[in-house]
Amino acid sequence: MKAKRFFGKLAALTLTVAVTVGCVFGLASCGGKKNVNYAENNTTIKIGVSGPLTGGAAVYGVAVKNSAQLAINEINEKGGLDGILFEFVMTDDEHDPNLVAANYANMLEGGMQISLGTVTTAPGLEFKEFSHDDNVFVLTPSASGDNIPEYDNAFQMCFADSNQGTASAKFFNENYQGKKVGIFFKSDDEYSTGIKDKFLQELSSSFTVEEASFKEQESDFRTQIQTLKDCDVIFMPIYYTPASQFMFQGKNTVKSTAIYYGCDGLDGIDAIDGFDINSITQEVSYLSHFNSGATTGAAAEFIDKYNAAYDEAAEPLNQFGAAAYDCVYAIYEALKVAKAAGKEFSVTTSASDFCDILTEVFAGDFVFKGVTGAPESDGYSRISWTAQGFVNKEAVKYVVKECTAE
């Protein structure tokens, strides 16, 4: 009886708190911000982003912070945009969607005029609603969900999840004809199933395909390895930790000449503490827009600059950082294009006006030369956007490790 009464009270208390908090936030976000210009007192153009600086995904957020700051510093050192300087602000969302509302409000009310959205997808799904309501421009470096650019104001620098599926299937159709294909994916993860579904849809019907899947909290892949052990190419649209576990557990069982082929989630697989990628014989490669081991072109230049400015070991560079670097420069170049077309703006222009200016450029025939994507002969890639906000650029196949089977 006692317990029942206690839980009753607890439930009532929880409800009261929830309702109160809901009211406060509800009022805060429905206060009719649209016509307020929080940038009136700005002395620079403020670019903001929300991303994980602490917690399990911090390694991505920190790389974004460092790289975006690097780009901003470079631009400002060159004198900015005809004298207009830029400023970068980042708030920590710990990869938790619940913190996005407060982060967004803080940045906007602090004078943010242009945003890089969020670093990861789950918080991005919150951010896109707020930024759409207030008409704030978003160019996200790395929130790759297909729904992120749902509204007109949002664009992606990374490939959308299903885009990676299409690009991978194209690569398989062109390079792996006649091979037996295996897919190892995470069945309760949208990133993984999104890529896998699109991949299967686009893959030529002449392939024989074996599928095996796992779930969050699962790390014993023996049965999945049994299913896939005879495959010639194993497609892994997953993050690097479970991928490394599969490779490690399967090193004696999976065909020694097999090819492990992943997407951008595999970036970093050669830098896991305790996992020696050379202890397996199979080839490991992935399709991505950035190779953090690049030695030529604009990408290599950027990597050198990053490593000169930051501690490589504690805050390593990854594709998230490269994309953020490109985002800042893309916004800078787009503003230049707008200016040349006669658009007027200053450090006190409102976020909403900036959004209209930038959306027009990005949805138009704007082509940006970046460090992410396969480079052309001048060392830079060519990046453009569809009107829906998806990115167009050539992916690079990056071989992390060659096959070493005899």
């Binding site: 069945s187 779930k215 014993d220 023996r222 049965t223 999945q224 930790t241 576990q245 004696n252 305790g274």
Partner: protein, 287 residues
């Protein structure tokens, strides 16, 4: 051939579950409390092995086992003994608290990311057409030996029989001169040592650990203990092996995405048909 491999895998996974389930079941049978932090002892064992591995693998295993035994004893002294006789709900919540405490401590000390712990590279052996990892065979063999030893210990030693006595009627046992506190301490020590070894064997299967990594095997072993009949040592073995085999067989069929659901469905069916579990004894309620 594939089926044989799946079966061997399942038996070896079942061996790991059974060892964890044994700890659950002994502690429940003797101290009458559900130690939800039991799964986290596996995690602690993994990190302890990681710390001591730089010296010597064998030493690491011994040190990790001793460390977990001490942890189990400390857990009982600090968290559970003061609550002996308190309402079961209070003890349950304390157990959940201990579990979170251990996970958070591990995260503060070792970080949230996965860590590789490679105890030894044992390779694999080929029997006819079947290729099996040595680690799998060791796990299977060792878990069977340990379970038999435990059964013999409970049946034939003084301490073991005292345990059975405490489990059957605590007050009567005390009147017979059995030191209840000592027996419960020993139970926690044995349970934690089993969890430490289960941690070692799961490193043979999966060489990575993270702070929350004991949670899922812990829950599954609890399910195994309940399926087998909580409080029963052979029941825990049976439940663990059953669950391991079902899991591996399910994973090798198109039912793979529903493996966990199927495991819990088996629990529900067994509880409906036989509420005390397969080998559980029916207890007469005193009125």
């Amino acid at each position: 051939m594939d089926f044989i491999i799946t079966l061997v895998n399942g038996l070896s996974l079942g061996g790991v579950y059974a060892m964890i389930a044994l700890g659950y079941t002994m502690v429940y049978g003797i101290a009458k409390l559900l130690n939800f932090a039991h799964g986290d002892v596996i995690m602690v064992s993994g990190y302890a092995i990681l710390v001591f591995l730089s010296f010597d693998p064998i030493l690491a295993i011994i040190c990790a086992t001793l460390f977990c035994m001490l942890l189990g004893i400390a857990m009982e002294r600090v968290a559970y003994r003061p609550l002996r006789g308190a309402s079961p709900l209070a003890v349950l919540i304390t157990a959940i608290g201990v579990s979170y405490l251990l996970q958070s401590l591990a995260q503060i000390i070792f970080g949230a990311a996965d860590r590789y712990v490679i105890v030894a590279d044992l390779g694999s052996i080929t029997l006819g057409e079947v290729k099996i990892d040595v680690g799998t065979i060791i796990t299977l063999g060792a878990s069977l030996v340990i379970m038999m030893a435990l059964s013999l210990f409970v049946k034939f030693t003084r301490t073991g029989r005292a345990m059975v006595a405490v489990s059957e009627d605590r007050d009567a046992a005390r009147l017979m001169g059995i030191n209840i506190n000592r027996i419960i301490t020993i139970t926690f020590a044995i349970g934690s040592a089993l969890a430490a070894l289960a941690g070692l064997f799961s490193l043979f299967r999966v060489p990575t650990i993270m702070p929350t990594y004991g949670a899922m095997p812990g829950i599954k072993a609890f399910v195994a203990a309940v399926i087998g009949g909580i409080g029963s040592i052979p029941g825990a073995m049976l439940g663990g092996i059953l669950l391991g085999v079902v899991e591996c067989i399910c994973n090798s069929t198109p039912l793979a995405p529903y493996t966990i659901a199927i495991e819990f469905a088996i629990l529900i069916v067994i509880l409906l048909v036989k509420p005390t579990g397969i080998l559980g004894k029916k207890r007469r309620e005193k009125v």
